[in-house]
Amino acid sequence: MPSAPPESEEYFDVAVIGAGVVGCAIARRFTLEGARVIVIEKAVDILDGASKGNSGILHTGFDAPVGSLEQRCIAAGYREYLDIKDRLGLSVLKTGALVLAWTEEEEARLEALMEQARANGVDDVERLGVTEIRAWEPGLSDRLRGGFSVPREYIIDPWTAPHSYLLQALENGARLLRRAEVLDGGFDGSAWRLETSRGAVRASTVINAAGLYGDHVDQRLLKASSYAIRPRKGQFVVFDKAASVLLSSILLPVPTATTKGIVVCKTSYGNVLVGPTAEEQESRDAAAVDHETLAALQRRGIEILPGLADFEVTATYAGLRPATADKDYQIKDHPAQRYISVGGIRSTGLSAALGIAHHVFDLYGQFGGRHQPPETPHWPKVSPIAEYQNRGWTEPGNAGVVCHCELVTRREIEEALNGPLAAGSLPGLKRRTRATMGRCQGFYCLGELAEITEGRFERPLATAYDSNS
């Protein structure tokens, strides 16, 4: 059930607008530093914006612009993720990546990219010839011309990470307000009063982590924004899990100015993913796929890994990057208004979130607030959902498997429907458990799920009917 609106008297040190991966990481950081935090999210569930569909790669930042804020945040975020993952029960699949050149032109750019990687502190990149690469990745097409390895690019689970950041914040005292859109607000010289669709929220500092709506929220609260979001869509096709025997590394193309290009990699859930595209669009909400693009991605996947031709596409999706005209993140502090805008976290936010949170807390330090960090913070563990983790179905008392393709148990589903971060929708339940995400896309389990989730979602999956009517 969605959380109740806060008492009108209640007063927070920090209001974080937006529960994407960035807002979740910021809420965690500030809570662990002792601030009283409220997270305000307009959707029925968290991770409903840019963070709902990405590639799930924990980037080293090897190809980020040298000296950029993005590069620093990725490096810091990457380190902290690996530091805390075991305590929070987060996954990592240490695949490493290969940057592959398919044309002469691309081959010519490999050296410069390796230079850039070294300048970014990623100094273990290694130039590889076709034979070496194909010995390592025998499934690759023989049209390959060369490449280099980036051994510390990894695969992580894009959903448990933010859930667990926010859960840790909540278990240490933060509040979450869902279905609450920030509409307006005012700063009286010492504190903010935010008008949301579920009432007013008072806080001394506001952090705008509204992702695809970052500029809108700036405009609502500051009456101006220093950046304009230009949504850039990325579509994906996902191949059946059985295809995962075809590769071991993350297969990256040589990036261009606007995109990292079409990646082929495993997912945390054991599938093979091909994507994303990079398509500018107006809509900040509609992450639609289209047939031609999906078919082109499928063909591209087969060009790179010919063996994919024998496997079914089992899922398709699209995500929207909160891009701007600028290359770098748009993180702007406004000390006079005790306001920080965390915008334009376009294509590396999953990797950088923890680093961004530190950076934002440093900026906040200049606002002069002092907090007492909790002495013994809680470290809750979320249920593991990555394929390579020990999941619920392996344990006694799991109450039986409901989603057969993804082996999601009734106990896990019940857990995801309860607690401070209870799923508010079927997509939310998917992100917590993987239910219906598999090769059958709900063929076997939707009936059961309609029953289990009855009364839990704002929009029910199905309604009872009178068969005599």
């Binding site: 639609a288 089992t314 039986g400 057969h404 309609a450 009178d466």
Partner: protein, 421 residues
Amino acid sequence: MTAIPEHAGGPPGACDVAIVGGGPAGLGAALRLKDLGIEAIVLDREAEAGGIPRHCGHYPFGMREFHRILKGPDYARRLVQAAKQAGVAIFTQTSVVALDPGPCLAVTTPDGRAEIRAKRVLLSTGVRERSRAGRLVGGQRPWGVLSTGALQSMVYLKGRRPFERPVIVGSELVSFSAILTCRHAGIRPVAMVEANDRVTAWWFAAGLPRLTGVPLHLNSRVLRVVGDQRVEAVELQDGAGASRLIEADGVIFSGQFLPEATLPRAAGLTIDPGSGGPAVDQYGRCSDPAVFAAGNLLRPVETAGWSWQEGVFAADRIAASLAGQLSERQGAIEMRVHGDAAIKFVLPQRLALPVLPGAMRNLQLRAKRPFHGTLSVRQNGRTLWSGRQSGRPERRILLPLAPIAEKAVPGTIEIDLQEEF
């Protein structure tokens, strides 16, 4: 409906025959094995055995098995009852998660993991329908996009309906099953959409008065599902490339069946890309001869009665195999479909010589598209069999196996089609 495990204590660690999947094929096999005095256990991941017919709340099921016409759920109950009465041990809520060499099955139950060693394994895990994703249909991801199977389980098992005015994509038998399911729940489909110029299950549809009132759109392809939270419309494109919107609150992607072949595929058994199921010989043996397959896992798609019959035959062959009567002594033949191939697959994919009595009686073929012509079965330039045939997608084509097997020698057999236009 919470399940009471039918056998307290969970499945045994070892058995003679382990049957994975308690649908018509698996239950047919179990009962027959019991009759032959061989101990078999049935493992099914659902809370109830019975397979797909459990949620096909309509006729006609049961002619072969019970010599009467039953609705799916009654038929499924009877199959389960017959097996239980004969003393077959059925373990429900038991998902087989891996097939390891041995053969050894890795399973999970509400009590966690377990292992079952078996002398022989029968895989009878059935089929599912191809999802929206597998068809690369565009649009956002609103709620209301389902397969027939999911709709049926909501309607017949849970008494719920997910929408009121869906579009049905496909015109196979199962698409008509979707119409019947809708009618049962007071759902009114607004369109049936078929990419070809003719209803796939035309022989069936011909008997229905004007498709029970659902407007039919031939030569039409679903481009896009429209809607954000809920389905609002479906965009169709016709043969001439023109597109139009049909308002609807749901979409049923029906048919385009795919064998549920995850286990044999992950186990590294040979999979036939044409059928999507494990490649078998004329005894239904997979590339691991201790593993057999029967029912719709073998191919998309046959009726429940056919699948049941395959299960019964599989039981006889498993018995023969346990008695050491199926060994390959004189080599093997690979079956190959030749040329541009209007033919999608041939089953069995392999012949183990000699072809003993008790083998499959027919080669089963399927067409990708309509054809007329002469089918010939050739080896080393010799014609083993030939005959005039016509075919349509999703219709059974059977060629007699005995005359072919009689003349065949180890090597490859080619199946060729001379089309007449």
